[in-house]
Each structure stands twice: as structure tokens, then as C-alpha cells.
Symmetry: C2
Subunit: 793 residues, 2 copies
């Protein structure tokens, strides 16, 4: 029973130093608080690795997973989720006992849970929105009064200071809770949810604590005036709600409601998390269909009609709940036509027309969006690398966040201060806090509309303000500064999304584009007169250029604008932005996933990988167990620092020890742990006299935080006992022959959401095991197929 | 090498008589013109079977597949499509030779083809629309003038006769081409496309001839005044276009462009057909996103991001093309805001609001829609059974279609004649052919607006006409008569869709519902004043109740109305309609699929099927070939009337003949046919001296109409030769152990789109074969799991 990691590490150049004496605990995610990292690798590591190792010495918790280490490596620290049911005897017995009525009840519970997910997600969105509005309103009111007071007296530097301090305070609080309490709550959470839905277990990503930190964090970031949005985090929040509700218990609160026990496995949980993510999108943008498509685009590989309907239902309920409570909050009870956290406002029917000759313009805007998006991503990539190297300590992270908050406020103030773009104040104006500053009476500062406002309101203003509201210089300066601010902000240790800043940047340059068009067109074609249309296209182009989603984003934007006429141009813009952007660099989320070395599986194997077969891809030799195995052997294998595997093929007893045995099942580490914990042993002498009868419930109760092997005490006597795995192993694991090509293996793996795929020879003997990391290693680079190295964290 | 059908037929009670001496040709679809049906089953069949057999005696072609035989049977006449690539040595060599640039070119061709599909589908939609508008316009003009002439003179029976004759003439032509030239072009084509995307090969469904007949047929039906729409057939048309364009040749026209040869296999073709169907929906309703969702909801099981984008692209181009050419046709070049064949018209922003207390009303409407839909389906089900028994001859079918046309015209005329609902004629009225009849000058007959019009215009009128346009009696009578007419019409031997009639019925009773609400509400709440909103909800409810789609239909309706505000209520309505309707009977398309005994695979195995294992489900024993097999044996097996299999496991030579051999590959009938045709033999004496070098091209050229074995002449000498299958078989077929549970087998089969799944024992010996029919046989009935019988056609 050799170590199947050994083969892998022998290749890597860059990865090798990391493995000196390093061990990995597959359960680090479940055992925060106890350190299991060995500190014996300081000798050969370079600056970058040193940074990480230092961080890891910290005994309280390991390095926040937002911070990547090396993009050329594939981290082994991530476990996979098990989307393939382990159909062992216990499971089959339970399923067979269940009546058709039982299945119907299960189905009804699924719908019920989805409804609950929708309601809770909607309520959270509502809560965030109300709190942000109140706090931001109070903040802007205080600052506005202060500015108005000092505009005449000439002490505006005091106003600036007030603004900076207020912002920094909020951001400091938001940053501290993220950095010190739950680092995985940083960022928008979309990369994490993408990974989760892809089948990678991100530690602590769907915990209650994460949700609380996320919600508080995002409120602080938005109120703190950072160039961020509150929409991305809603997706993460929805996912956490779903993971929590569907399990019928909270491990953090130590409360088990004893319901929904059937759903305590990865397969079911994933389905609910998809629904939660969709509900989050739906609440954020008032886009239920967009939410469903987001879930599918990012997560699902196997499209199931019933599941899609449930996801749809959750999305629908989520929008509805938000809508309903917002209507109460606004005092228009029951007025349900304005869903979503962000509402782009309805485009009037007259202004939504577009013409054939505008299509090339839209495509041009898409290309600009793709270029600007790629620039954004490249800058953010460098910044992230910089942060990995130099800003890895927590207090530094908090300080950086505060610095950004202070700079944001100062820049905004400076821009407003030096702006001379005064506009007449109208009654029906969209601006809630018009700043007069040095403008004449009855006028307001146009620059302040964009900066002295929550980003959502700025976007709406750019979309809908009548022509002439902004001048060219204002828009140009705003685009430039906001672009840099947003780029600097993304990746800070705060909870915040990148959707709204992207839309805002795009809306600004889009409006600029529209105004320029009107100016240069010789005879002022009237259809170009409305810059709001171009602002919308610019917003789509910029967002598409940064995140590179197409289908779901189109639907989200169409639903958020409340108008389908723009569907076609938005699609064109998004596709152009994606094509242009992809030429330079990946999407922002993919960059961050790659920098974290997550073994992310794409939709298909690299095109040129047909020459690889399962034989080359698999890990081999594999640690196997016999059908009736000695407890001591099992404990030793599980405890061994080098064989941190999660799945073990079970083989028939073979006559010779060196010959691989015939496959007869597959058992998971988690199952073995539960069996060891419950002492399901057979004493050698009295064969099978007593064996505790295990139930599926025992496994479900331990899910998903199975204890580490170290916490289970097995006495010397017990080590001599035997354990009969027959009942617990999956007797029909999927297998492939050794000659199977990589794309074929990949397809099977991806379509069924597998975690382990056993490679067998022509008489069904175990030859190797294919896991996620074996497949994720290959990717198509500039010079054909490339192989990533594997590294322990 | 025994017959693996033998086991199956021994079960059936009802199915047995059908099998007396019956043989099935798997190639009947490809060899129309030659009869291969044995006529030796007349003795034991009952009336129903007799009807079919009589039909089948017809030497020219067999019974049109629109006509079902017995819903308790599962027909064996349908082949499966092969969505799993046969990764044999030839294929792998080709893939390995291909450079990354080659793959990029392939990808570009895929996009190019999708663009082409979109353009052609859009053009077809445009053609249908223009021709229908012109012809229907001419017809209504003639009849209107005639009616106006005779209203005063009092000879209206002549007008009626004119109307009846005109309608019947159109319908007769449409029905004749469908019944005598291409019976599969009957109906909307959606059930057929559903089956195709599900993986069932429907003979002739994607042929050029089918497309031509479909297009002409639908024009005739719509112009002939039947209660039908032209939207459903667009989906079929799009699919045919896709299947044709993607293959780079037309077998019907005997033209091979020698391009896109790589795409000549089921996997690639299916992807393009999905895109075509989506483009069809997109062109029909101006709903590109709805089209994508339709394709996914009905077809895809494995969701692939790139594929989805291509489908999206095709949809987008299709809408755009239609839009562009329609704008030219209407003389407003470049005005692109009105996509789709049917346009529900934009709902004005003021009237789109809805309120919380309307939600229960919408849900109630959904329930009504579900009930009425179920009633529609039940009636149509009985009617279809009746048609199977008594209306199976072609001239009867044509006569029935003409009868329906005549009755439709007469009923419409009678309704208009006796209607006393006169409305003042307005200038901006939506009615193109207002009939004055007995109304006062300056007024028109309201009943005529609904009946004396193409259904699309009637729907628009019901949605948008101002309150007071229709009175209660008009709407009630219209609903009733149109419901019965539409129900009678669906299933006629004409090309026609059920979408528009459903929408029209629903819009009528929805408007009625709205008017009643206004009447009974005590203080005339203003928000209920607009009956157009209720017409829309009623239309959604009725359509949902009949076809039972939810997600895609919501998006289609939202896109067709050009307004997302109604998204939520439409969703609620559709879900309610589905839940209520499903309680009584399946959706209309599913009924027709079931009546055709198609082995349709649903999304998941029946919930209570865990007690079944592969051992019980599989067909066994299996006809296998040796790796190097005698040509005579192969020819005998392929020609044998009893072993009409399509896939044969290839086994290693075993010492004993009665023992099942070890699996080493899988070969398809089609591959063997090509090998036999090219005489890829090895003479026994001169071992391997000459063997023609085969290429993938040889297989692709024969795709998809492989010749029947009977057409291949193999001499007695050649029969003694050997054939080496090693290079051509798929060496890595997917396998499962015998103990695998049915849901697990099902999941593997469905997720990967398999056609054959080999069941092996623990030393990899072939124990059985699972095919589509083995899985489709099980379904969850009222009393638990039920098993359908299998029957030869």
C-alpha cells in the first residue's frame, strides 16, 4: 500500500521544496482551532513561500483562503464534494423501504425548503438594503450639512476630514470582522460559490458565521463609501442560507431540529446551494430567470428539470419577498412592480428604440468594454500578487482597507471640489443629496451626483438623467478615478462585490460615448440624443469585460432594466466584450480561483488531450483495503501523513500480496472514520458474534464535519479486530479501463460529479484512481497542453 | 449467440400476438420505397392492431408515425441516437493528429454553422409570415367584400359557402402534402423534436423534404382558417435547418459540399439540432433566451457552457434576421425593436402594475388554466385514440381535415351572424378587417374581430383593445367554440401548432375573467379596469395547462410581451397550471409521445426503483462478436430477423464456447455495415496480407443513412474470411457491475447520452446489455412501479 502522492511530487520543479516534511490534514476545515501544520520547510522556500509559511505558523487558523500562493501549482488542500451517492447496502435498504408516498413527501420538503431559502434570502437582502440606506443616508446628511456650513466659511478641509474619518471608521469595522473572524467572507464570494458548485469543498464557505460576517461586512463597506456593491455578496449569502436551511440544523448554534435528515449529503446539499445562489442573484437584481441561469452557468453540469424548477421557485420567492417588504418599507404596501436590490429603473418606451446602424456602435462599445475589462483584470492581478507577497498580515490588511477608504473619500472630495460642472437643480431630479458647493443658487455640482452618492443611485442617475446633465470632463474624470479606485478595492479584506462598480464605470464611459456621438454626428440624428441608452450598453460592456459571463448576465441586465428590447444589443455587447477580453486575460473570478490554486474543473477536457489515457492520468499505486480488513491497518492508513486519501477501493482477498486485487467496492475516509468511532469491529476469535448495527443516521449525524482520525482512540486490542466493510462500501463504483482517453474520463467525471474514479484492467483489478486534481492538472496553454504541478498547501 | 429479445417477449400479455413472425427492420426509416414488413400476423390481432397492420401492408411506406398504436406498449421500432462518441483507434488517431489550431478552426466552424442556422431559420420564419399575411389578407378581403355585398341583398349563405370552400381548399392542399408526401410533418413537430433531443431517432424527422412539406403545410393550415398557429412548426423547421446545414450536404438533393465532415455524427448533430430548435423558438416568439431555455428544458441533459453560448448565438441571429427582413418588408428599414413572428405588443408602463391582492387571483387563473388544459388534453387524448382506430387511411385523414376546415368556417360565420355585439369603429383600431354586418354605420361586429382574423391578430386584440371592446357573451361563446375547435384540430394530418390557439382561448377567458372582476368589485377598483392584463394571465394559464412547460414558457411570454414586470405573476400562473393539470393528465406533447410508444427517457429513474438492479433490467444473453470474427457469422447475425441489435460487445477469444468472454470493446451495427461494404476482410489462409485501410471518412460518408444488410452482397468465399474489429470497435465502452441499482444505471445512461451500456461481472465478462428500451420500460404508476411491455411495431 504505497503512497500515491509520491509519484506526483517527483515531477515538479517549483513544487518540490514545499513538500519537505509537509503534511496535509484533510480535515483542517473542520477543526479550526487546532494546528496541524508542521513547521519544517523554512530552509528552501523563497520569499513568496516564506510569506505563506509565516502566516501558517499562526496557530489559531491557517492563511485566509482568499490569499493565493502560486498560480503554477494546484493545491492539494482542497477536498472534493461527493456528488455521487455512495449506494451501499444501508442506502439501498433505506430507499427500498421507502414508499411512493415517502418519496412524494421528500419532494414536497424539497419545495418547502426552496421556498424557505427564497424567503430568508429575500429578507436578508431587504435587511442589507434598509440598513445601508439608513446609515448611508445619515452619513451623507451629516457630511452635506458640514460641507454646506464650511463652503461659505472656507474651512472645507474639516469637512474632508469628517468624511474621511467616517468612511474609514465604517471600513475599519468591516475589515476587522472579516480579517479576524472569518477571512473567507472577504470579497464577493462568487469565486467561492463557483468553486463549491464545481465540486470543490471550500472550508467554512457555507457556515452561519460566514453569513453573519458577510452581511455586516458588506453593510460597512458600502456605507464606508468604498467603490463596491452589495449585490455580489447576496449570492454568497443565499448559498449559505440554503446550505443551512436544507440541513435542518446548525452546527455553530449546536441546534439540531431533527428534520431534513435525508438531505444531509453532498448531492442534495449542492442542489440547495444552487437554489440559494440563484435566490441571491434574484434578490440582488430582481432577476429570477437570471438567477436560475447564473446557477446553471456557474454550477450545474447535469441539467435536471425538476431541480431547475425548484431553483426557479426559490428565485421567484426571493424576489417576491424582497419586493413585498420593500414595498412596506417604502409605504406602498403591495406595490410589487419594482423588484431587486438594485433597480436600473424602467427605460421609457420611446427611448428604447435602436436602429440597425447602431449595432456596429454597440459592438464597438463591447470591444472597448472588453479592453477596459482586461486592463482592470491585469491591474487587479498584479495587485493581488503584490498583496500575497506583502500584505498578508491581518493588521496590514485592515490598514490597507482603511487607506483605500480614506483615499476614496479624499479623491471624491477633490474631484467635487475642483469640478466646475454646475447644473440647474430640478424638482424631479434623481439626486437625493445635491451639493451646491460653489455653484450658483438653484444649481448643484454634477460631479457630486456621481461621487457623493451610493453607487446604485449613481448608476440610475447615469442611465436616466436627461441629456445635458453631465458634461464630458466630469464623466471622463469620473471614469478614470473610479476605475482605479474600484480596481484597487477589489481584493481588499472586506465583503464587497464588483458588479456595481463595474456597471458604474461602464455607465460613465458609455454616457460619455453617447455624448461624443451626438457631438460628432453632422446633423444631430435624434436617436443618438439619449445618452442613457449608451450608458446602459457601456455598463454591460464593462461588466462583461470584467466578469465574462454572457447568458446569465444578459438576462440579469434585461430583467434589471425591465425591458427586453435591449436584449439583443446587450447580448452582442457582452459577447464582444468576452471575446476581446479573453484574448488578453481570463475573467476576474477565474483569475482569483487560479491564484488560489483551486483544482477547478472546466466544462470539457482540453481539446488536444486525446493522446492522454487514464493510465497516464491516474494516481498509482492505490491504497486499497480488503473486504474484511484489520482495524490496525485501517487506522494506520488513515493516520499516515503521506496517504491523505479520501477514497479507498475495496478489493477481494488475493492469494498473492503483491498482485493487485479485484475491485469489489469503494469506501470513503469519512465512512471509515464513522465506523471506527462507533467501533464496528468483529473480533478475530469470535467471528461476527457481535457487530453493532449501523444505520445511515450515524453517517448523517456526522456529516459534514467528520472528526479527524487523531481524535479517535483505538486500543491495542481493538487494533487486532477486523472490520467488515461489505455493508458500507459502495459496491458499484464507476470504473474505466486503462486505455480510456482523458476526454472520456473527464466527461464521465464531470457529468456525474464524481470524486473518485477507479481505473481497472481487463480482469477488474485496481490499477489506479483518478481524482479531481488529476484532471484539473491539464490545461491548454499557449504552447499546447500544459501540466500544473501539485503542491501541498 | 442467442437472441436477447426472446426474454423480453415472453413477459408480455398484450404484446405477444404482435410478435408472431414479425420482424423489424431497423433501417425502414432510411429505405422508404422498399417494403420489409412481413405480413403474417393477421390471425390473432384485434381491431386496433388490424387497422395498423392493414396500413402497414401498404408497400410504399409504413404507417405515419404520428398515429400511435397502443399506449401500454413500448415500441421497438425506434432506434437510439449515439451521443457517446465511439472512441476507436481511427477516431483517436484523428484527434491526436489535430493541432490546437485545428480545434480552434472546428470551434469557429461551429459558431459559423450556428450563425447560418440562425439566418436560415429567421428567413424561413420571415417567408412563412409574409406568405401567410398576403394569402390570409387576400382571403379575408374577398370574403369581406362578399359579405358586405350580400348583407344588404340577403344572400349571406353564398358568402358562407365561399368562405367554407376557400378554407377547405387551402386545408385540402395542406393536408394532402402532409398525408401523402411526408406524414411526419404533421402536427407541431415539438413532440418529435423532444424525442430527437431525448435521443430517439425519429425516422425522417430532420429531412429536407420534411421541412418543405412543413413550411407549405403550415401556410395552408393557417390561411385555411384552422384553429392553429404557425409558431410550433418553426421549432421543427429550425431543427431541420440545423441538421441539414451542420452536415454540409443534402442527401435528398444528392449534393455533398465536402465541408463540416467532422460533424457527421450524432453527438455533434444533436448539438446543432438543439441550436436549431432554439433558433426556431426565437424566431417564432422573438424570444432568444426563451429559445435557449426551451432547448435545455426539452433536450439537453449535460449542460455545457460553450454549447449554450452557441445555442444562444443561433437564437440571437435568428431573431435579428427575422427582425431585419420584417422591417424591410414593412418599409421601416433597420427598425429592430419588434422581433418575432408573433408579437403580443408592448404593454404600456402604466397598465403593467399589479398588486399583492391580485396574486391570489392570478393563482386562481392558473388553476382554471390547469383544469381547462387537462380537459383539453383528455378530449384530445380520446380523439387521438378514435383517430387511431378509425381514421388511419390517408384519404380519410384529408377528408377529416377538410371537414374541420369547413366546420371552423361555418361555426365562425354562425357566431358572427348571430352576434349582436356591435362596437363603435375607432380610427386607431387594431382590427384590420372590421365587419359591419348588421351593425349600424360606424360600428363593427365584435365577434368578427376574434373569428374573422388570423389568430395572432385576435390575441393582440384581446390583450390590447381598450376596456369595453368585447362584451361577456361574445367572449364566453368564443372561448367555448374555439376551445372545441382547437381540440378537434390538434392531431389532424396538417402541419400546425397549438401555441397560438391555446393563447387565444386563454386570452378570451382571461379577458372575460377580468371583466367579471370589474363588474363584481363593489367600488370599481381602478387597477382591475384593464382586462388586457387578465387576458395575458389567462393566455399563460391556458397554454401552461396544455403543454406544461414552466421555465422556458415564462421567459418566452416575458420576451414576447416585451415586459419583465409580469414575470413573477406569469411564473406563478404557469406553475399552478402545471401542478393542477398534472394531477389529471400529462401534458399534450407527452400524451402524444406516449401514444406513439416512444421509449422516452425522463430526467430521473422512477423514485421507487432502487430495488431493481442492472441484472434484472438488462437484456441477456447478448450477441457478442470475437475480436477477430468470421465474416459469415457477422453477416448472419446482422441479417437475422430476430437479432435486430445495433450494438455488439466484442469479447476476447475464450477457451470454451459456452462461457461468456471478457469484454474488450463495443461495435455498432452501422460500423459493421460499413466494414462489410468496404470488404475489410482478412483471408484466412494469407493472414492479413491485404486489408483495405479504412478511414473515419468512410464511416462519415455513410452517416446517417447506413444501407441495410440486405443490400450488401457477400460471396460464399468472402463469408469464410475473417474480419479484425480491433481498430474499429470502441475499446473503452462504459460498463456497470450487475449489482448496480436502476437509478444509478439510469443516471449514467442519461447523463452521458448512451445507447448501449454493457453489464459485466467481477472479472469483466459480458453478462448483459442495457439499452434505452430497458430503462424506458419502468415508470411510476398509480400503484407503484409499473413495467411497460415491449412490442415490435
Amino acid at each position: 500500500m504505497a503512497n500515491n502522492i509520491a509519484k506526483k511530487v517527483s515531477w515538479s520543479g517549483e513544487g518540490t521544496p514545499l513538500l519537505n516534511g509537509a503534511e496535509e490534514s484533510r480535515y483542517s476545515g473542520q477543526t479550526s482551532g487546532s494546528s496541524m501544520f508542521h513547521i519544517g520547510r523554512m530552509s528552501t522556500v523563497d520569499l513568496e513561500e516564506e510569506a505563506i509559511t509565516t502566516e501558517e505558523q499562526d496557530p489559531v487558523r491557517h492563511r485566509p483562503s482568499e490569499i493565493p500562493h502560486n498560480e503554477k501549482l494546484l493545491s492539494l488542500k482542497y477536498e472534493s464534494l461527493d456528488y455521487d451517492n455512495s449506494e451501499n447496502q444501508l442506502f439501498l435498504e433505506e430507499e427500498r423501504r421507502m414508499s411512493p408516498m415517502g418519496f412524494r413527501c421528500l419532494e414536497i420538503s424539497r419545495w418547502f425548503i426552496c421556498g424557505l431559502i427564497g424567503i430568508l434570502t429575500g429578507l436578508i437582502a431587504c435587511f442589507i438594503d434598509v440598513v445601508v440606506e439608513k446609515l448611508a443616508g445619515a452619513k451623507y446628511k451629516v457630511v452635506k450639512e458640514d460641507i454646506e456650513k464650511f463652503t461659505e466659511d472656507g474651512g472645507l478641509s474639516i469637512s474632508l476630514l469628517l468624511w474621511v474619518v467616517l468612511n474609514s471608521a465604517f471600513v475599519m469595522f468591516g475589515s476587522i470582522i472579516v480579517a479576524f473572524i472569518e477571512p473567507i467572507a472577504a470579497g464577493s464570494g462568487i469565486p467561492q460559490i463557483k468553486c463549491y458548485l464545481n465540486g470543490v469543498k471550500m472550508p467554512r464557505v457555507v457556515r452561519l458565521k460566514t453569513l453573519v460576517v458577510k452581511v455586516c461586512g458588506v453593510i460597512c463597506s458600502v456605507v464606508g463609501g468604498l467603490a463596491v456593491g452589495k449585490e455580489g455578496p447576496m449570492i454568497h449569502s443565499g448559498a449559505v442560507v440554503a446550505a443551512g436551511v436544507s440541513q435542518g440544523r446548525s452546527t455553530s448554534l449546536k441546534k439540531d431540529f431533527k428534520i431534513f435528515e435525508y438531505f444531509r449529503r453532498d448531492t442534495e446539499k449542492r442542489d440547495f446551494v444552487s437554489a440559494g445562489a440563484a435566490a441571491g442573484v434574484s434578490a440582488a437584481f430582481g432577476a429570477p430567470v437570471g438567477g436560475v441561469l447564473f446557477s446553471l452557468e456557474e454550477g450545474a453540469s447535469f441539467w435536471n428539470q425538476m431541480l431547475t424548477w425548484r431553483i426557479f421557485f426559490a428565485s421567484m420567492i426571493s424576489t417576491f419577498t424582497l419586493n413585498f417588504f420593500m414595498s412596506i418599507q417604502k409605504g406602498e404596501l403591495g406595490e410589487l412592480s419594482n423588484p431587486g436590490l438594485i433597480n436600473f429603473g424602467t427605460f421609457a418606451s420611446e427611448s428604447v428604440q435602436y436602429n440597425l446602424y447602431e449595432i456596429p456602435l454597440f459592438i464597438l462599445m463591447g470591444a472597448i468594454g472588453g479592453l477596459l475589462g482586461a486592463l482592470f483584470n491585469v491591474l487587479n492581478y498584479w495587485l493581488t500578487i503584490f498583496r500575497i507577497r506583502y500584505v498578508h498580515r491581518r493588521y496590514l490588511q485592515v490598514m490597507e482597507a482603511m487607506l483605500v477608504a480614506a483615499v476614496s473619500a479624499s479623491v471624491s472630495f477633490t474631484m467635487i471640489y475642483f469640478s466646475t460642472d454646475c447644473q440647474p437643480l430640478k424638482k424631479e431630479s434623481l439626486e437625493e443629496y445635491p451639493l451646491q458647493l460653489f455653484c450658483a443658487d438653484g444649481e448643484y455640482n454634477a460631479m457630486a451626483t456621481t461621487f457623493f452618492n451610493t453607487p446604485e443611485r449613481s448608476v440610475m442617475s447615469l442611465f436616466h438623467s436627461p441629456p445635458g446633465t453631465y458634461n464630458l470632463l466630469t464623466l471622463g474624470l469620473f471614469t478614470l478615478t473610479y476605475f482605479l479606485l474600484a480596481c484597487w478595492t477589489y481584493g481588499l479584506t472586506v465583503s464587497a462585490g464588483v458588479f456595481i462598480p463595474s456597471l458604474l464605470i461602464g455607465a460613465a464611459w458609455g454616457r460619455l460615448f453617447g455624448i461624443v456621438l451626438t457631438l460628432i454626428s453632422p446633423n444631430k440624428i435624434s436617436i443618438w440624443a439619449d445618452p442613457g441608452k449608451y450608458a446602459l450598453m457601456g455598463a454591460a460592456a464593462q461588466l462583461g469585460g470584467i466578469v465574462r459571463m454572457t447568458l446569465s448576465l444578459t438576462v440579469i441586465l434585461v430583467e434589471a432594466t425591465g425591458n427586453v428590447t435591449y436584449g439583443l444589443p446587450i447580448m452582442l455587447v457582452l459577447m464582444t466584450a468576452k471575446i476581446v477580453g479573453d484574448y488578453f486575460i481570463e475573467g476576474l473570478y477565474d483569475i482569483h480561483i487560479r491564484l488560489q490554486s483551486v483544482p477547478f474543473l472546466h466544462w470539457e477536457a482540453p481539446a488536444t488531450s486525446h493522446w492522454l489515457t487514464a493510465r497516464e492520468v491516474m494516481s498509482s499505486p492505490v491504497t486499497c483495503f480488503k473486504r474484511v480488513e484489520k482495524v490496525g491497518t485501517i487506522v494506520d492508513v488513515l493516520s499516515a501523513t503521506s496517504t491523505n486519501h479520501n477514497g479507498f477501493p475495496v478489493i477481494m482477498q488475493s492469494d498473492r500480496d503483491d498482485e493487485p486485487g479485484k475491485l469489489c467496492g469503494l469506501i470513503l475516509r469519512s465512512q471509515l472514520i464513522v465506523l471506527l468511532k462507533h467501533k464496528v469491529f468483529v473480533e478475530r476469535a469470535r467471528s461476527r458474534l457481535y457487530q453493532r448495527r449501523m444505520q445511515l443516521k450515524d453517517f448523517r449525524d456526522a456529516y459534514p464535519r467528520f472528526p479527524p482520525i487523531q481524535s479517535i482512540h483505538v486500543s491495542q486490542d481493538e487494533r487486532e479486530c477486523m472490520m467488515d466493510l461489505t455493508e458500507f462500501m459502495n459496491p458499484t463504483p464507476y470504473t474505466v479501463p486503462e486505455e480510456t482517453s482523458l476526454p472520456r474520463v473527464f466527461k464521465l467525471f464531470r457529468a456525474l460529479g464524481l470524486r473518485h474514479l477507479v481505473v481497472v484492467d481487463d480482469v477488474n483489478r485496481v490499477m489506479g484512481l483518478v481524482t479531481r486534481k488529476d484532471l484539473a492538472r491539464y490545461h491548454l496553454g499557449k504552447h499546447g497542453l500544459e501540466e500544473l504541478d501539485l503542491a501541498h498547501p
